[in-house]
């Protein structure tokens, strides 16, 4: 027993004797309870490992789904070059006269080709 009080004396010895005079024994029911709980705790890590594997598997498949979704969604938002307008056609039709006027505007405007 390590005693390191500089002023340790008979008073402390008496005090320790008084304090230690009250002692409780561990009831067998408590011993049994601890034993059962310890055995249950020993079984627990196996379940914990199983749960951990499941957790890893679930999170990995979740991550894979998210990755695939990103791969499919990105092209939809990617900037596309607009196709160049090769011509602008404007059509007029006079039904009772059986006349159709078509204006075709080409990139080399102001040359305008008009056909009937």
């Amino acid at each position: 027993m390590e005693r390191k009080m500089e002023n340790h004396d008979r008073f402390d010895e008496e005090l320790a004797r008084l304090v230690r005079s009250v002692e409780r024994n561990i009831p067998p029911s408590v011993e049994e309870r601890v034993r059962v709980a310890a055995e249950a705790a020993r079984a627990f890590p196996r379940k914990r490992h199983l749960r951990r594997h499941l957790l890893v598997l679930t999170s990995m498949s979740g991550a894979a789904v998210v990755l695939l979704a990103i791969l499919f969604i990105i092209p939809l938002f990617r900037h596309r070059e607009a196709t160049q307008i090769s011509e602008i056609r404007t059509e007029f039709e006079i039904a009772d006269k059986n006349i159709k006027i078509i204006f075709v505007q080409k990139p080399d405007f102001p040359d305008l080709v008009t056909s009937f």
Partner: protein, 170 residues
């Protein structure tokens, strides 16, 4: 890595080491918790935690101190609930003391201890009941040695003032 550490720990080694200290541990917890009915739960939790973290125990250090440090943490956890702090009249729950000592003095000492703050009560019982030294109590509770000495001296002086002078001894 954790798995291999768990597998390498033989629980029987823990129980073998804990065996000689269980009774002392049980009394320390009961006295620190003023013989509360919950003390059995704290005792159980202390042993289970010890078993769980046995792989982290440094075998070059004292097992006794390590186990009591776990008990200290469990007692501290118990007292985190402020309502529990003042709920137990310790001296009323005493069981019959050793016949060679005066029961009235025992009752007075336990009444005094019951009025201490939880942390001070732990230090008091670690010293006077469990028989730990100042440096060991410091390691168990995380308090500096100076603080441990201060707590013990104050308790000792208060007891001396209260009972020592009128009785010649406690």
């Amino acid at each position: 890595m954790e798995r291999s550490a768990e597998l390498s720990i033989d629980p029987s080694v823990f129980w073998e080491l804990a065996g000689p200290y269980k009774q002392k541990l049980y009394n320390f917890i009961h006295k620190s918790l003023s013989f509360s009915e919950e003390a059995d739960d704290v005792f159980q939790e202390t042993l289970l935690r010890g078993l769980k973290y046995f792989h982290s125990y440094n075998k070059e250090k004292s097992f006794n101190t390590w186990l009591f440090a776990i008990a200290h943490n469990e007692v501290k956890r118990h007292f985190k609930d402020a309502q529990r702090r003042n709920s137990l009249p310790l001296e009323e729950r005493l069981i019959a003391a050793d016949e060679r000592v005066r029961p009235d003095l025992v009752r007075e000492v336990y009444r005094f201890a019951g009025g201490l703050k939880p942390k001070h009560k732990e230090v008091f019982f670690l010293f006077y009941d469990s028989g730990f030294g100042i440096s060991e109590i410091s390691r168990i509770t995380g308090l500096r040695e100076g603080n441990v000495k201060f707590i013990l001296n104050r308790a000792r002086q208060a007891l001396k003032d209260r009972y020592g002078e009128e009785n010649g001894k406690p």
